[in-house]
């Protein structure tokens, strides 16, 4: 009843204002959509151009050429970089999952002296940007003789704070009766964890895997700091190095960039729901 009075009270003037606001809102939405989409579309059309069209600023390639996609593998060690990216990502993701699951479980389900301190210490690492302490890390790695090795790049990424946090949040929300029941049935703590908790944590594990994959595949900073040899570069660092060497061959660079994006875009397309829910879950609950 109250709402009808308000509606009749609303004069034509304020209704016109509302319509104007709505039109404005849609204009903003469309402009922002273009902002997010254009860099991808522009690099896609560029990657299909012949070298002579690259500096003409045209949207539609004419003629269309797939040479960039064919040749990028020969101009630079693109295949090697792709393989390196896979190697780094595989190792980092597996280690991330192992460490985040065990730590997250203990922090959520076990009581022990120092638990809170350890939790806040782990959370605290999020507050310090990596750039601040890269000098000592570089020195540690060079002291250990690990500069310019696969090992160094994998080791610095081993512990994934966001992952620990995600798993802890998830385990916190599981009902305690489950563990009690398992205990009554005589299952050991390890078996409870392995056979009851982990299978139930499958959605969280899926989210953890995806986030860890994205973070490792997109990693630029550590390989850039720690590696010198081209043949050990992942795609992110390789492409940036390629850019400074072949500054004018934009069709190759864009083809190479789009190929590098493909795995993450595919993962995003397939696992969109888990990604979006994972971000929301940790942000709102945390």
């Amino acid at each position: 009843m109250a709402s009808t009075t308000v509606k009749t009270e609303a004069s034509g003037k304020s209704r016109a204002l509302d319509v104007l606001l709505k039109v404005l809102a849609y204009a903003v939405l469309v402009a922002m959509a273009a902002f997010f989409l254009v860099p991808f579309a522009w690099s896609l059309t560029t990657s299909l151009k012949t070298p002579d069209q690259v500096f003409q600023g045209n949207w539609i390639p004419d003629p269309v050429s797939f040479d960039a996609y064919r040749n990028v593998w020969e101009i630079v060690p693109y295949g090697r970089w792709f393989l390196n990216s896979l190697i780094y990502t595989a190792f980092v993701t597996v280690i991330n999952i192992a460490l985040a699951t065990t730590a997250g479980y203990a922090l959520a389900r076990m009581r022990f002296p120092g638990r809170q301190v350890i939790f806040y210490a782990i959370l605290g690492t999020l507050m310090i940007p990596v750039h601040v302490y890269l000098i000592p890390i570089y020195q540690m790695m060079s002291f250990l003789g690990l500069v310019d090795t696969y090992t160094s790049v994998i080791l610095v990424q081993a512990a994934y704070t966001f992952g620990v946090f995600l798993m802890r949040q998830f385990f916190l929300e599981m009902p305690y009766e489950l563990e009690e029941a398992a205990k009554v049935d005589g299952a050991s703590r390890f078996r409870t964890f392995w056979q009851i908790m982990l299978p139930l944590a499958r959605p969280a594990l899926a989210a953890l895997t995806i986030f860890s994959f994205l973070s490792a595949w997109n990693q630029f900073f550590w390989p850039f700091i720690l590696l010198n040899s081209q043949e050990k570069f992942p795609l992110t660092v390789g492409l940036a190095a390629f850019r400074s060497q072949y500054d004018t061959q934009w069709e190759f660079l864009m083809a190479g960039s789009l190929l590098a994006l493909l795995p993450t875009l595919l993962v995003f397309l397939v696992a969109q729901r888990q990604i979006i829910e994972g971000v929301s879950f940790t942000a709102v609950k945390g």
Binding site: A2, L37, M110, N218, Q219, F268
Partner: protein, 305 residues
């Protein structure tokens, strides 16, 4: 089967049982200690010395590295430009995503889902690759931006090489790349508001702007604060890779900031003590802001309950 497991576990020494949680936490804690906290101690130590990273000669200079920073006009310029980066982040990674979240929530349905994916797409892209995509947009000849401006007769620019536009051009890239994450957080916060509150407000006649101003914003306060402080804290770290790939802080330091300058002091000029002092100051600034963020969040959340 389960009988066997019981007898096995009860025969284990009690001490091992007490150690178990520590064994589970240890791997993650050791790595984070080794690669975060120990380096923080080391970098603080180094800030009291003068050293070039290779020579065995390390000279203790006390607080000299800090004092010389405050005496250097270039330091204040870096500080000012850092604030510019933060201002851009407040616009691009706070106001815009929060506003967009409010707008798209009203879109709803299929359209809202598609839009959500669109905004989030740059987030899954490597920031280094994103920087490369944008370099080709900013290119003086053949770049999309100049071609677009040419349609309206506006003269083009060498965006990344012009001291007046370099910082802003980097800022746009960080907005593009990092908006999606904050957008999702804002959206999640919005959707977590109990529907009854919103309906009650509508029944009471709140609509349009007054609905946003007096209902949505107060209810969203904890989320809004969280997104705002994240945007501030991440402004400089987020700009690092685009700066490194596209401008290296130039031209003439026009796109430089405190965080990138710290990296330069260490890895371009090999002034480890200076870099250490800069790192310590950065850590205090950002760490302090982060602690402040947690306290505000804590308070607003308890207030909410």
């Amino acid at each position: 089967m389960s009988y066997g497991a019981t007898s096995k576990s009860s025969s284990r020494p009690r001490r091992l049982k007490l150690l178990r949680p520590y064994l589970l936490v240890l791997p993650a804690a050791v790595f984070l200690g080794l690669f975060v906290y120990w380096p923080v101690v080391l970098v603080t130590f180094l800030s009291f010395f003068e050293w070039n990273m290779v020579s065995p000669q390390m000279t203790f200079v006390g607080l000299e590295n800090f004092a010389s920073r405050f005496a250097d006009p270039a330091f204040y310029r870096l500080l000012f430009q850092s604030l510019l980066y933060i201002a851009i982040a407040l616009l691009g990674n706070f106001l815009l995503p929060v506003g967009l979240a409010m707008l798209t929530l009203q879109l709803g349905g299929r359209c809202g889902d598609v839009y959500q994916s669109l905004i989030f797409t740059p987030t899954v892209v490597a920031v280094s690759v994103g920087a490369l995509l944008w370099q080709y947009i900013y290119l003086p000849t053949g770049g999309l931006l100049n071609a677009f401006l040419g349609l309206f007769g506006v003269p083009g620019n060498n965006w990344l090489n012009d001291p007046a536009t370099a910082l802003g051009s980097i800022g746009v890239i960080t907005a593009w790349k990092f908006m999606g994450f904050n957008y999702l957080i804002a959206l999640a916060g919005l959707m977590a508001i109990p529907k009854e509150y919103l309906e009650a407000a509508r029944v009471d006649g709140a609509a349009g702007w007054s609905f946003v101003r007096w209902v949505l914003i107060p209810l969203l306060m904890p989320t809004v604060l969280f997104v705002m402080l994240t945007a501030i804290l991440q402004a400089l770290p987020n700009a690092f890779v685009p700066i490194e790939i596209l401008t290296r802080g130039g031209p003439n330091d026009a796109s430089n900031n405190l965080l990138y300058a710290t990296y330069q002091s260490a890895f371009q000029f090999f002034q480890i003590g200076k870099a250490g002092a800069e790192a310590v100051m950065l850590m205090l600034l950002l760490g302090g802001a982060a602690v402040w963020q947690f306290r505000i969040l804590d308070r607003s959340l308890t207030y909410d309950r």
